[in-house]
Protein backbone atom coordinates (compact mmCIF):
# COMPACT_ATOMS: atom_id res chain seq x y z
CA UNK A 1 0.00 0.00 0.00
CA UNK A 2 1.29 3.49 -0.89
CA UNK A 3 1.38 6.49 1.45
CA UNK A 4 -1.68 7.03 3.64
CA UNK A 5 -2.97 10.06 1.75
CA UNK A 6 -3.36 8.03 -1.44
CA UNK A 7 -5.38 5.29 0.26
CA UNK A 8 -9.08 5.21 1.01
CA UNK A 9 -9.82 3.35 4.23
CA UNK A 10 -13.00 2.36 5.93
CA UNK A 11 -13.80 0.02 8.81
CA UNK A 12 -16.89 -2.09 9.19
CA UNK A 13 -17.86 -3.95 12.35
CA UNK A 14 -19.42 -7.41 11.90
CA UNK A 15 -21.43 -9.10 14.64
CA UNK A 16 -21.20 -12.87 15.00
CA UNK A 17 -24.53 -14.68 14.64
CA UNK A 18 -26.26 -11.69 13.05
CA UNK A 19 -27.64 -13.54 10.03
CA UNK A 20 -30.20 -10.80 9.40
CA UNK A 21 -27.33 -8.52 8.35
CA UNK A 22 -25.64 -11.14 6.18
CA UNK A 23 -24.01 -9.49 3.19
CA UNK A 24 -24.55 -5.88 4.28
CA UNK A 25 -20.84 -5.08 4.65
CA UNK A 26 -19.90 -6.85 1.42
CA UNK A 27 -22.56 -4.81 -0.32
CA UNK A 28 -21.20 -1.54 1.09
CA UNK A 29 -17.70 -2.50 0.00
CA UNK A 30 -19.00 -3.28 -3.47
CA UNK A 31 -20.73 0.12 -3.75
CA UNK A 32 -17.60 1.93 -2.60
CA UNK A 33 -15.42 0.13 -5.13
CA UNK A 34 -17.86 1.01 -7.92
CA UNK A 35 -17.78 4.65 -6.85
CA UNK A 36 -14.00 4.56 -6.89
CA UNK A 37 -14.22 3.59 -10.53
CA UNK A 38 -12.83 0.06 -10.39
CA UNK A 39 -13.47 -2.30 -13.28
CA UNK A 40 -16.73 -4.26 -12.94
CA UNK A 41 -14.93 -7.63 -12.99
CA UNK A 42 -12.59 -6.54 -10.18
CA UNK A 43 -15.54 -5.23 -8.17
CA UNK A 44 -17.31 -8.55 -8.56
CA UNK A 45 -14.29 -10.54 -7.38
CA UNK A 46 -13.95 -8.26 -4.36
CA UNK A 47 -17.69 -8.52 -3.66
CA UNK A 48 -17.58 -12.31 -3.68
CA UNK A 49 -14.45 -12.47 -1.49
CA UNK A 50 -15.86 -9.88 0.93
CA UNK A 51 -19.18 -11.71 1.15
CA UNK A 52 -17.57 -15.06 1.97
CA UNK A 53 -15.30 -13.44 4.56
CA UNK A 54 -18.20 -11.60 6.16
CA UNK A 55 -20.23 -14.82 6.31
CA UNK A 56 -17.36 -16.63 8.02
CA UNK A 57 -17.40 -14.03 10.79
CA UNK A 58 -21.20 -14.15 11.11
CA UNK A 59 -21.28 -17.94 11.16
CA UNK A 60 -18.37 -18.75 13.45
CA UNK A 61 -17.06 -15.76 15.38
CA UNK A 62 -18.38 -13.67 18.28
CA UNK A 63 -17.44 -10.44 16.61
CA UNK A 64 -15.20 -9.13 13.94
CA UNK A 65 -14.11 -6.20 11.85
CA UNK A 66 -13.50 -5.73 8.18
CA UNK A 67 -11.03 -3.08 7.06
CA UNK A 68 -11.12 -1.91 3.49
CA UNK A 69 -8.11 -0.12 2.05
CA UNK A 70 -8.10 0.95 -1.59
CA UNK A 71 -5.25 2.44 -3.57
CA UNK A 72 -5.29 2.92 -7.33
CA UNK A 73 -3.35 -0.37 -7.62
CA UNK A 74 -4.78 -2.66 -4.97
CA UNK A 75 -7.82 -3.48 -2.87
CA UNK A 76 -7.00 -4.82 0.58
CA UNK A 77 -9.68 -6.37 2.75
CA UNK A 78 -8.48 -7.35 6.18
CA UNK A 79 -10.84 -9.36 8.34
CA UNK A 80 -10.16 -9.76 12.04
CA UNK A 81 -12.39 -11.80 14.25
CA UNK A 82 -12.56 -12.99 17.81
CA UNK A 83 -13.75 -16.55 17.64
CA UNK A 84 -12.76 -20.19 17.63
CA UNK A 85 -10.04 -19.84 15.00
CA UNK A 86 -9.32 -22.42 12.33
CA UNK A 87 -7.63 -25.56 13.67
CA UNK A 88 -6.31 -26.81 10.34
CA UNK A 89 -6.02 -24.06 7.75
CA UNK A 90 -4.97 -26.43 4.99
CA UNK A 91 -8.00 -28.63 5.57
CA UNK A 92 -10.28 -25.57 5.67
CA UNK A 93 -8.96 -24.58 2.26
CA UNK A 94 -10.26 -27.83 0.77
CA UNK A 95 -13.37 -27.39 -1.35
CA UNK A 96 -16.35 -29.00 0.32
CA UNK A 97 -14.81 -29.13 3.79
CA UNK A 98 -17.02 -27.38 6.31
CA UNK A 99 -17.63 -27.26 10.04
CA UNK A 100 -21.04 -25.64 9.58
CA UNK A 101 -23.81 -26.81 11.89
CA UNK A 102 -26.99 -28.39 10.48
CA UNK A 103 -28.82 -25.11 11.25
CA UNK A 104 -26.39 -23.15 9.09
CA UNK A 105 -26.74 -25.69 6.31
CA UNK A 106 -30.48 -25.41 6.52
CA UNK A 107 -30.07 -21.71 5.74
CA UNK A 108 -28.05 -22.59 2.66
CA UNK A 109 -24.64 -21.88 4.16
CA UNK A 110 -21.72 -24.16 4.93
CA UNK A 111 -21.12 -25.74 1.54
CA UNK A 112 -17.41 -25.68 2.32
CA UNK A 113 -16.68 -23.24 -0.47
CA UNK A 114 -15.99 -20.13 1.62
CA UNK A 115 -12.21 -19.99 1.91
CA UNK A 116 -11.56 -21.65 -1.47
CA UNK A 117 -13.90 -19.11 -3.02
CA UNK A 118 -12.03 -16.23 -1.38
CA UNK A 119 -8.77 -17.67 -2.65
CA UNK A 120 -10.17 -18.05 -6.16
CA UNK A 121 -11.31 -14.43 -6.26
CA UNK A 122 -8.23 -12.81 -4.75
CA UNK A 123 -4.62 -12.37 -5.84
CA UNK A 124 -3.19 -12.88 -2.36
CA UNK A 125 -4.78 -14.55 0.64
CA UNK A 126 -3.02 -14.75 4.01
CA UNK A 127 -4.62 -16.65 6.83
CA UNK A 128 -3.38 -16.21 10.35
CA UNK A 129 -5.43 -18.13 12.87
CA UNK A 130 -5.06 -19.00 16.56
CA UNK A 131 -7.30 -21.68 17.94
CA UNK A 132 -9.58 -20.31 20.61
CA UNK A 133 -8.56 -16.72 19.89
CA UNK A 134 -9.51 -15.72 16.39
CA UNK A 135 -8.60 -15.39 12.76
CA UNK A 136 -7.11 -12.73 10.54
CA UNK A 137 -7.61 -12.88 6.79
CA UNK A 138 -5.69 -10.59 4.50
CA UNK A 139 -7.18 -10.44 1.05
CA UNK A 140 -5.47 -8.53 -1.75
CA UNK A 141 -6.99 -7.96 -5.16
CA UNK A 142 -4.94 -6.11 -7.76
CA UNK A 143 -6.89 -3.61 -9.80
CA UNK A 144 -5.04 -4.26 -13.05
CA UNK A 145 -6.82 -7.57 -13.25
CA UNK A 146 -3.67 -9.66 -13.71
CA UNK A 147 -3.61 -12.53 -11.32
CA UNK A 148 -0.30 -13.69 -10.02
CA UNK A 149 -1.25 -16.66 -7.87
Amino acid sequence: MPAAEAVFRQEFPVKGGDFAKAGVVACKIKELLKELGLDAAIVRRAAIAAYEAEMNVIMYAREGRMDLAVSPEEVHITVDDRGPGIADVELAMTEGYSTATPEMRELGFGAGMGLPNIKRNSDVLHIDSRTGKGTRLKIIIRTDGHRTT
Binding site: A6, F8, L36, A40
Partner: protein, 426 residues
Protein backbone atom coordinates in the same frame (compact mmCIF):
# COMPACT_ATOMS: atom_id res chain seq x y z
CA UNK B 1 -31.30 18.06 -17.48
CA UNK B 2 -34.44 16.64 -19.07
CA UNK B 3 -34.12 17.99 -22.58
CA UNK B 4 -33.43 14.84 -24.56
CA UNK B 5 -34.83 12.34 -22.11
CA UNK B 6 -35.62 8.87 -23.38
CA UNK B 7 -37.46 8.21 -20.12
CA UNK B 8 -41.17 7.73 -19.68
CA UNK B 9 -41.38 9.44 -16.29
CA UNK B 10 -41.64 13.20 -16.26
CA UNK B 11 -42.30 15.91 -13.72
CA UNK B 12 -44.86 18.64 -14.34
CA UNK B 13 -43.13 21.65 -12.84
CA UNK B 14 -46.32 23.63 -12.30
CA UNK B 15 -47.78 20.94 -10.08
CA UNK B 16 -44.60 20.08 -8.17
CA UNK B 17 -44.38 21.83 -4.81
CA UNK B 18 -40.89 20.51 -4.03
CA UNK B 19 -41.83 18.13 -1.20
CA UNK B 20 -39.73 15.07 -0.39
CA UNK B 21 -42.04 12.13 -1.16
CA UNK B 22 -40.46 11.18 -4.49
CA UNK B 23 -36.94 11.84 -3.21
CA UNK B 24 -37.33 9.22 -0.52
CA UNK B 25 -39.12 6.72 -2.76
CA UNK B 26 -36.57 6.63 -5.58
CA UNK B 27 -34.56 3.39 -5.32
CA UNK B 28 -31.65 4.69 -7.41
CA UNK B 29 -31.58 8.13 -5.75
CA UNK B 30 -32.16 9.77 -9.12
CA UNK B 31 -34.28 12.71 -7.92
CA UNK B 32 -33.14 16.06 -6.53
CA UNK B 33 -35.21 19.08 -5.59
CA UNK B 34 -33.59 22.13 -7.13
CA UNK B 35 -35.07 25.61 -6.74
CA UNK B 36 -38.19 24.14 -5.23
CA UNK B 37 -38.90 21.64 -8.03
CA UNK B 38 -38.10 17.97 -8.37
CA UNK B 39 -35.79 17.02 -11.23
CA UNK B 40 -34.81 13.58 -12.45
CA UNK B 41 -31.20 12.69 -13.23
CA UNK B 42 -31.58 10.84 -16.52
CA UNK B 43 -28.53 8.59 -16.17
CA UNK B 44 -29.77 7.19 -12.87
CA UNK B 45 -33.50 6.81 -13.59
CA UNK B 46 -34.66 3.26 -14.35
CA UNK B 47 -38.34 4.17 -14.99
CA UNK B 48 -39.66 2.01 -12.17
CA UNK B 49 -42.50 4.42 -11.40
CA UNK B 50 -42.03 4.39 -7.61
CA UNK B 51 -42.06 8.22 -7.61
CA UNK B 52 -45.28 8.27 -9.60
CA UNK B 53 -46.95 6.07 -6.98
CA UNK B 54 -46.12 8.32 -4.03
CA UNK B 55 -46.54 11.84 -5.43
CA UNK B 56 -49.50 13.41 -3.57
CA UNK B 57 -49.83 16.26 -6.09
CA UNK B 58 -50.04 14.26 -9.34
CA UNK B 59 -46.98 16.13 -10.47
CA UNK B 60 -45.30 13.04 -11.88
CA UNK B 61 -46.70 11.51 -15.00
CA UNK B 62 -45.65 8.94 -17.51
CA UNK B 63 -45.48 9.35 -21.26
CA UNK B 64 -47.32 6.55 -22.97
CA UNK B 65 -48.95 6.44 -26.39
CA UNK B 66 -52.24 8.30 -26.74
CA UNK B 67 -55.21 6.65 -28.34
CA UNK B 68 -55.41 9.52 -30.86
CA UNK B 69 -51.84 8.84 -32.00
CA UNK B 70 -53.04 5.53 -33.45
CA UNK B 71 -54.77 7.40 -36.26
CA UNK B 72 -51.39 7.41 -37.99
CA UNK B 73 -51.95 3.71 -38.75
CA UNK B 74 -54.41 2.30 -41.27
CA UNK B 75 -54.60 -1.01 -39.40
CA UNK B 76 -54.43 -0.98 -35.60
CA UNK B 77 -53.50 -4.06 -33.61
CA UNK B 78 -53.61 -4.31 -29.81
CA UNK B 79 -51.72 -6.87 -27.76
CA UNK B 80 -52.78 -6.17 -24.19
CA UNK B 81 -50.80 -7.32 -21.16
CA UNK B 82 -52.64 -10.18 -19.45
CA UNK B 83 -53.01 -7.81 -16.49
CA UNK B 84 -56.01 -6.39 -18.34
CA UNK B 85 -58.07 -9.53 -17.65
CA UNK B 86 -58.05 -8.71 -13.93
CA UNK B 87 -59.29 -5.14 -14.31
CA UNK B 88 -63.02 -5.54 -14.83
CA UNK B 89 -64.37 -7.63 -12.00
CA UNK B 90 -65.36 -11.25 -11.63
CA UNK B 91 -68.04 -11.56 -14.30
CA UNK B 92 -66.27 -10.13 -17.36
CA UNK B 93 -64.52 -12.76 -19.45
CA UNK B 94 -61.23 -12.15 -21.29
CA UNK B 95 -63.00 -12.64 -24.63
CA UNK B 96 -65.39 -9.80 -23.78
CA UNK B 97 -62.45 -7.51 -23.02
CA UNK B 98 -60.75 -8.34 -26.32
CA UNK B 99 -64.03 -7.78 -28.11
CA UNK B 100 -64.53 -4.41 -26.38
CA UNK B 101 -61.08 -3.34 -27.58
CA UNK B 102 -62.14 -4.13 -31.15
CA UNK B 103 -65.28 -2.06 -30.74
CA UNK B 104 -63.40 1.00 -29.52
CA UNK B 105 -61.25 1.11 -32.63
CA UNK B 106 -58.70 -1.67 -32.91
CA UNK B 107 -58.90 -3.66 -36.12
CA UNK B 108 -57.55 -6.73 -34.38
CA UNK B 109 -56.70 -7.71 -30.82
CA UNK B 110 -54.52 -10.67 -29.82
CA UNK B 111 -54.28 -12.39 -26.46
CA UNK B 112 -50.77 -12.73 -25.02
CA UNK B 113 -51.31 -15.75 -22.76
CA UNK B 114 -50.40 -18.24 -25.49
CA UNK B 115 -47.22 -16.30 -26.31
CA UNK B 116 -46.35 -16.31 -22.62
CA UNK B 117 -46.64 -20.10 -22.74
CA UNK B 118 -44.42 -20.12 -25.83
CA UNK B 119 -41.84 -17.98 -24.06
CA UNK B 120 -41.85 -20.36 -21.10
CA UNK B 121 -41.24 -23.37 -23.35
CA UNK B 122 -38.41 -21.55 -25.15
CA UNK B 123 -36.87 -20.61 -21.80
CA UNK B 124 -36.98 -24.26 -20.79
CA UNK B 125 -35.17 -25.19 -23.98
CA UNK B 126 -32.55 -22.49 -23.48
CA UNK B 127 -31.88 -23.61 -19.90
CA UNK B 128 -31.54 -27.21 -21.09
CA UNK B 129 -28.91 -26.16 -23.61
CA UNK B 130 -26.95 -23.79 -21.38
CA UNK B 131 -25.62 -25.20 -18.12
CA UNK B 132 -23.90 -21.95 -17.19
CA UNK B 133 -24.05 -19.29 -15.85
CA UNK B 134 -26.49 -19.62 -12.98
CA UNK B 135 -28.84 -18.10 -12.23
CA UNK B 136 -30.15 -16.72 -15.49
CA UNK B 137 -32.37 -13.69 -14.97
CA UNK B 138 -35.53 -13.21 -17.00
CA UNK B 139 -35.82 -10.10 -19.18
CA UNK B 140 -39.58 -9.60 -19.02
CA UNK B 141 -39.48 -6.61 -16.67
CA UNK B 142 -37.75 -3.80 -18.59
CA UNK B 143 -36.92 -2.05 -15.33
CA UNK B 144 -34.95 -5.08 -14.14
CA UNK B 145 -32.92 -5.01 -17.36
CA UNK B 146 -32.20 -1.30 -16.86
CA UNK B 147 -31.41 -1.82 -13.20
CA UNK B 148 -28.89 -4.53 -14.10
CA UNK B 149 -27.29 -2.35 -16.80
CA UNK B 150 -26.83 0.48 -14.32
CA UNK B 151 -26.30 -1.04 -10.89
CA UNK B 152 -25.31 -4.65 -11.56
CA UNK B 153 -23.30 -4.38 -14.80
CA UNK B 154 -21.46 -7.64 -14.10
CA UNK B 155 -24.81 -9.47 -14.35
CA UNK B 156 -25.59 -8.32 -17.92
CA UNK B 157 -24.40 -11.68 -19.25
CA UNK B 158 -26.82 -13.51 -16.97
CA UNK B 159 -29.96 -12.05 -18.55
CA UNK B 160 -31.65 -14.92 -20.37
CA UNK B 161 -31.48 -13.84 -24.03
CA UNK B 162 -35.05 -14.57 -25.07
CA UNK B 163 -37.30 -11.62 -25.82
CA UNK B 164 -40.36 -11.11 -23.58
CA UNK B 165 -43.82 -12.15 -24.88
CA UNK B 166 -44.90 -8.65 -25.95
CA UNK B 167 -41.96 -8.35 -28.36
CA UNK B 168 -42.25 -11.94 -29.60
CA UNK B 169 -45.97 -11.46 -30.30
CA UNK B 170 -45.34 -8.20 -32.16
CA UNK B 171 -42.52 -9.78 -34.17
CA UNK B 172 -44.69 -12.71 -35.24
CA UNK B 173 -47.61 -10.43 -36.15
CA UNK B 174 -45.35 -8.01 -38.00
CA UNK B 175 -44.02 -10.81 -40.18
CA UNK B 176 -47.44 -12.36 -40.93
CA UNK B 177 -50.05 -9.58 -40.94
CA UNK B 178 -49.05 -7.48 -43.97
CA UNK B 179 -49.75 -10.41 -46.29
CA UNK B 180 -52.66 -11.79 -44.29
CA UNK B 181 -54.65 -8.56 -44.16
CA UNK B 182 -53.27 -6.92 -47.29
CA UNK B 183 -52.00 -3.78 -45.61
CA UNK B 184 -48.42 -2.52 -46.13
CA UNK B 185 -46.17 -3.19 -43.12
CA UNK B 186 -45.64 0.53 -42.48
CA UNK B 187 -49.38 1.13 -42.14
CA UNK B 188 -49.86 -1.50 -39.47
CA UNK B 189 -49.58 -0.22 -35.88
CA UNK B 190 -48.95 -2.82 -33.18
CA UNK B 191 -49.64 -1.46 -29.73
CA UNK B 192 -49.08 -2.97 -26.30
CA UNK B 193 -51.56 -2.13 -23.56
CA UNK B 194 -49.52 -1.83 -20.41
CA UNK B 195 -49.76 -1.57 -16.63
CA UNK B 196 -46.44 0.32 -16.45
CA UNK B 197 -44.68 3.08 -18.33
CA UNK B 198 -41.36 1.26 -18.48
CA UNK B 199 -42.62 -0.71 -21.48
CA UNK B 200 -42.65 2.60 -23.34
CA UNK B 201 -38.94 3.03 -22.62
CA UNK B 202 -38.18 -0.48 -23.82
CA UNK B 203 -40.01 0.38 -27.05
CA UNK B 204 -38.28 3.75 -27.56
CA UNK B 205 -34.81 2.59 -26.57
CA UNK B 206 -34.70 -1.20 -26.48
CA UNK B 207 -31.84 -2.71 -24.49
CA UNK B 208 -31.53 -5.97 -26.43
CA UNK B 209 -33.11 -5.28 -29.85
CA UNK B 210 -31.95 -3.06 -32.67
CA UNK B 211 -35.51 -1.83 -32.94
CA UNK B 212 -38.66 -2.72 -31.02
CA UNK B 213 -41.37 -4.58 -32.92
CA UNK B 214 -44.00 -2.52 -31.12
CA UNK B 215 -45.18 0.92 -32.22
CA UNK B 216 -46.24 2.12 -28.83
CA UNK B 217 -47.82 1.35 -25.48
CA UNK B 218 -51.11 2.65 -24.17
CA UNK B 219 -51.58 2.70 -20.41
CA UNK B 220 -54.38 0.60 -18.96
CA UNK B 221 -55.37 3.66 -16.95
CA UNK B 222 -55.86 5.75 -20.12
CA UNK B 223 -57.89 3.22 -22.05
CA UNK B 224 -59.88 1.82 -19.11
CA UNK B 225 -62.84 4.24 -19.33
CA UNK B 226 -63.41 3.45 -22.99
CA UNK B 227 -63.27 -0.30 -22.43
CA UNK B 228 -65.63 -0.01 -19.48
CA UNK B 229 -68.12 2.10 -21.44
CA UNK B 230 -68.00 -0.36 -24.31
CA UNK B 231 -68.52 -3.34 -21.99
CA UNK B 232 -71.56 -1.66 -20.45
CA UNK B 233 -73.19 -1.01 -23.78
CA UNK B 234 -73.01 -4.53 -25.09
CA UNK B 235 -74.92 -7.15 -23.20
CA UNK B 236 -75.59 -8.96 -26.46
CA UNK B 237 -71.94 -9.13 -27.29
CA UNK B 238 -71.22 -10.49 -23.82
CA UNK B 239 -73.70 -13.29 -24.46
CA UNK B 240 -72.06 -14.00 -27.81
CA UNK B 241 -68.60 -14.22 -26.24
CA UNK B 242 -69.90 -16.48 -23.49
CA UNK B 243 -71.53 -18.87 -25.93
CA UNK B 244 -69.02 -18.70 -28.80
CA UNK B 245 -65.60 -18.07 -27.25
CA UNK B 246 -63.13 -17.37 -30.06
CA UNK B 247 -59.79 -17.23 -28.33
CA UNK B 248 -58.24 -20.17 -26.58
CA UNK B 249 -56.47 -18.89 -23.48
CA UNK B 250 -53.41 -20.55 -22.03
CA UNK B 251 -53.61 -21.38 -18.34
CA UNK B 252 -49.82 -21.63 -18.27
CA UNK B 253 -49.46 -18.13 -19.73
CA UNK B 254 -52.49 -16.52 -18.09
CA UNK B 255 -50.77 -16.09 -14.72
CA UNK B 256 -47.65 -14.56 -16.28
CA UNK B 257 -48.48 -11.13 -14.82
CA UNK B 258 -48.36 -12.47 -11.26
CA UNK B 259 -45.06 -12.92 -9.45
CA UNK B 260 -44.02 -16.54 -10.04
CA UNK B 261 -46.24 -16.79 -13.10
CA UNK B 262 -43.36 -16.76 -15.55
CA UNK B 263 -41.58 -19.63 -13.92
CA UNK B 264 -44.61 -21.70 -12.94
CA UNK B 265 -44.61 -23.47 -16.31
CA UNK B 266 -40.98 -24.61 -16.09
CA UNK B 267 -40.87 -28.38 -15.79
CA UNK B 268 -37.33 -29.39 -15.00
CA UNK B 269 -35.62 -26.30 -13.63
CA UNK B 270 -35.38 -24.61 -10.30
CA UNK B 271 -36.80 -21.11 -10.41
CA UNK B 272 -37.15 -18.35 -7.86
CA UNK B 273 -39.51 -15.40 -8.25
CA UNK B 274 -38.93 -12.03 -6.61
CA UNK B 275 -41.15 -8.97 -6.75
CA UNK B 276 -40.92 -5.38 -5.53
CA UNK B 277 -38.03 -3.03 -6.21
CA UNK B 278 -36.33 -3.30 -2.81
CA UNK B 279 -36.44 -7.10 -2.73
CA UNK B 280 -35.27 -7.27 -6.34
CA UNK B 281 -32.23 -5.16 -5.46
CA UNK B 282 -31.54 -7.25 -2.37
CA UNK B 283 -31.55 -10.46 -4.40
CA UNK B 284 -29.49 -9.01 -7.25
CA UNK B 285 -26.93 -7.93 -4.64
CA UNK B 286 -26.79 -11.56 -3.51
CA UNK B 287 -26.38 -12.80 -7.07
CA UNK B 288 -23.52 -10.35 -7.54
CA UNK B 289 -21.93 -11.74 -4.37
CA UNK B 290 -21.96 -15.18 -5.98
CA UNK B 291 -25.09 -16.60 -4.34
CA UNK B 292 -28.09 -18.38 -5.86
CA UNK B 293 -25.91 -20.45 -8.16
CA UNK B 294 -28.15 -23.43 -7.50
CA UNK B 295 -31.08 -21.53 -9.06
CA UNK B 296 -31.61 -21.91 -12.80
CA UNK B 297 -33.91 -18.98 -13.44
CA UNK B 298 -34.50 -15.88 -11.40
CA UNK B 299 -37.70 -14.05 -12.22
CA UNK B 300 -37.62 -10.46 -10.99
CA UNK B 301 -40.44 -7.94 -11.32
CA UNK B 302 -39.97 -4.57 -9.71
CA UNK B 303 -43.68 -4.01 -9.14
CA UNK B 304 -45.20 -5.56 -6.02
CA UNK B 305 -46.70 -8.99 -6.82
CA UNK B 306 -45.49 -8.70 -10.43
CA UNK B 307 -46.93 -6.75 -13.38
CA UNK B 308 -50.34 -6.93 -11.72
CA UNK B 309 -48.98 -4.33 -9.27
CA UNK B 310 -48.01 -1.93 -12.07
CA UNK B 311 -48.46 1.78 -11.39
CA UNK B 312 -50.75 2.32 -14.40
CA UNK B 313 -53.40 -0.28 -13.66
CA UNK B 314 -56.80 0.68 -12.30
CA UNK B 315 -58.19 -2.21 -10.24
CA UNK B 316 -56.53 -2.67 -6.85
CA UNK B 317 -53.88 -5.28 -7.30
CA UNK B 318 -55.25 -7.75 -4.78
CA UNK B 319 -58.59 -7.96 -6.54
CA UNK B 320 -56.89 -8.09 -9.93
CA UNK B 321 -54.65 -10.90 -8.71
CA UNK B 322 -57.64 -12.82 -7.33
CA UNK B 323 -59.46 -12.52 -10.63
CA UNK B 324 -56.45 -13.63 -12.66
CA UNK B 325 -55.96 -16.65 -10.41
CA UNK B 326 -59.58 -17.63 -11.12
CA UNK B 327 -58.89 -17.38 -14.84
CA UNK B 328 -55.71 -19.44 -14.49
CA UNK B 329 -57.67 -22.17 -12.73
CA UNK B 330 -60.46 -22.02 -15.30
CA UNK B 331 -58.04 -22.30 -18.23
CA UNK B 332 -56.38 -25.37 -16.73
CA UNK B 333 -52.91 -26.80 -17.14
CA UNK B 334 -53.00 -28.12 -20.67
CA UNK B 335 -50.72 -26.55 -23.26
CA UNK B 336 -52.30 -24.58 -26.11
CA UNK B 337 -49.06 -23.99 -27.99
CA UNK B 338 -47.54 -26.74 -30.11
CA UNK B 339 -44.07 -27.48 -28.78
CA UNK B 340 -42.85 -28.12 -32.35
CA UNK B 341 -43.70 -24.51 -33.27
CA UNK B 342 -41.75 -23.30 -30.27
CA UNK B 343 -38.78 -25.45 -31.18
CA UNK B 344 -38.78 -24.25 -34.78
CA UNK B 345 -38.90 -20.56 -33.82
CA UNK B 346 -36.32 -21.12 -31.10
CA UNK B 347 -33.82 -22.82 -33.39
CA UNK B 348 -34.28 -20.12 -36.04
CA UNK B 349 -33.20 -17.66 -33.30
CA UNK B 350 -36.49 -15.91 -33.95
CA UNK B 351 -37.06 -15.49 -30.20
CA UNK B 352 -33.55 -14.31 -29.30
CA UNK B 353 -32.13 -10.93 -28.39
CA UNK B 354 -30.47 -9.05 -31.27
CA UNK B 355 -27.59 -8.36 -28.89
CA UNK B 356 -26.93 -8.78 -25.17
CA UNK B 357 -27.79 -5.96 -22.76
CA UNK B 358 -24.66 -3.89 -22.35
CA UNK B 359 -23.50 -2.30 -19.09
CA UNK B 360 -24.47 1.36 -18.83
CA UNK B 361 -21.69 3.88 -18.45
CA UNK B 362 -20.63 3.94 -14.81
CA UNK B 363 -20.40 7.12 -12.79
CA UNK B 364 -17.45 6.88 -10.44
CA UNK B 365 -16.59 9.84 -8.21
CA UNK B 366 -13.84 10.63 -10.67
CA UNK B 367 -12.46 9.07 -13.82
CA UNK B 368 -8.97 9.15 -12.33
CA UNK B 369 -8.55 6.54 -9.56
CA UNK B 370 -6.29 8.68 -7.37
CA UNK B 371 -8.68 11.63 -7.56
CA UNK B 372 -11.67 9.32 -6.93
CA UNK B 373 -9.95 8.13 -3.73
CA UNK B 374 -9.38 11.73 -2.62
CA UNK B 375 -13.03 12.53 -3.27
CA UNK B 376 -14.20 9.47 -1.34
CA UNK B 377 -12.10 10.58 1.62
CA UNK B 378 -13.52 14.09 1.42
CA UNK B 379 -17.02 12.61 1.28
CA UNK B 380 -16.36 10.74 4.54
CA UNK B 381 -15.28 14.00 6.18
CA UNK B 382 -18.40 15.74 4.92
CA UNK B 383 -20.56 12.92 6.25
CA UNK B 384 -19.24 13.68 9.73
CA UNK B 385 -20.45 17.29 9.39
CA UNK B 386 -23.95 16.37 8.20
CA UNK B 387 -26.67 15.51 10.74
CA UNK B 388 -27.61 12.11 9.31
CA UNK B 389 -31.32 12.90 9.56
CA UNK B 390 -31.95 12.33 5.85
CA UNK B 391 -34.62 15.05 5.88
CA UNK B 392 -34.35 15.90 2.19
CA UNK B 393 -34.56 19.67 2.74
CA UNK B 394 -31.23 20.19 0.94
CA UNK B 395 -32.80 18.68 -2.16
CA UNK B 396 -30.92 15.36 -1.99
CA UNK B 397 -32.70 12.26 -0.68
CA UNK B 398 -30.27 11.68 2.19
CA UNK B 399 -27.11 13.06 3.79
CA UNK B 400 -24.83 10.60 2.04
CA UNK B 401 -26.18 11.59 -1.36
CA UNK B 402 -25.68 15.27 -0.48
CA UNK B 403 -22.06 14.53 0.46
CA UNK B 404 -21.72 12.66 -2.80
CA UNK B 405 -23.20 15.55 -4.77
CA UNK B 406 -20.85 18.01 -3.04
CA UNK B 407 -17.68 16.11 -3.96
CA UNK B 408 -18.99 15.74 -7.50
CA UNK B 409 -19.53 19.50 -7.65
CA UNK B 410 -23.34 19.48 -7.88
CA UNK B 411 -24.17 20.83 -4.43
CA UNK B 412 -22.73 22.84 -1.56
CA UNK B 413 -22.41 22.04 2.12
CA UNK B 414 -24.53 25.13 2.89
CA UNK B 415 -27.46 23.47 1.14
CA UNK B 416 -27.89 21.54 4.40
CA UNK B 417 -30.23 23.59 6.64
CA UNK B 418 -28.57 22.22 9.79
CA UNK B 419 -25.06 23.16 8.70
CA UNK B 420 -26.29 26.56 7.53
CA UNK B 421 -28.16 27.16 10.79
CA UNK B 422 -25.08 26.36 12.84
CA UNK B 423 -22.94 28.74 10.77
CA UNK B 424 -25.45 31.55 11.12
CA UNK B 425 -25.63 31.13 14.89
CA UNK B 426 -21.89 31.62 15.06
Amino acid sequence: MNTKSSHSIHITRDKCIGCVHCLAACPTRAIRVKEGKATIIDELCIDCGECLRVCPYEAIHSHTTSFAALDAFAYKVAIPSTVIYGQFGASVLPNEILSALRRIGFDEVYDLSSICELNCAATEEYLNEHARPRPFISSTCPVVVRLIQRRYPSLCGQILPIEPPREIAAKILRSILPKAVGVPAGKIGIIHITPCSAKMVSINSPATLNKSYLDGAISIRDIYPQILASLRKSEEDALMRHLFPETLFSGIGMGWSLSGGETRGLKSHRAVAVSGIQDTMRVLDQVEAGLLQDVDLLECAVCPDGCVGGPLEVENRFLAKGRILELVAAAGEHAVVDIRDVSRLYHKNFLSFDHPASPAESHPLDGDPARAIRKAKRREKLMALLPGKDCGVCGAPDCRTLADDIVRGFARLEDCPFVKGKKEKR
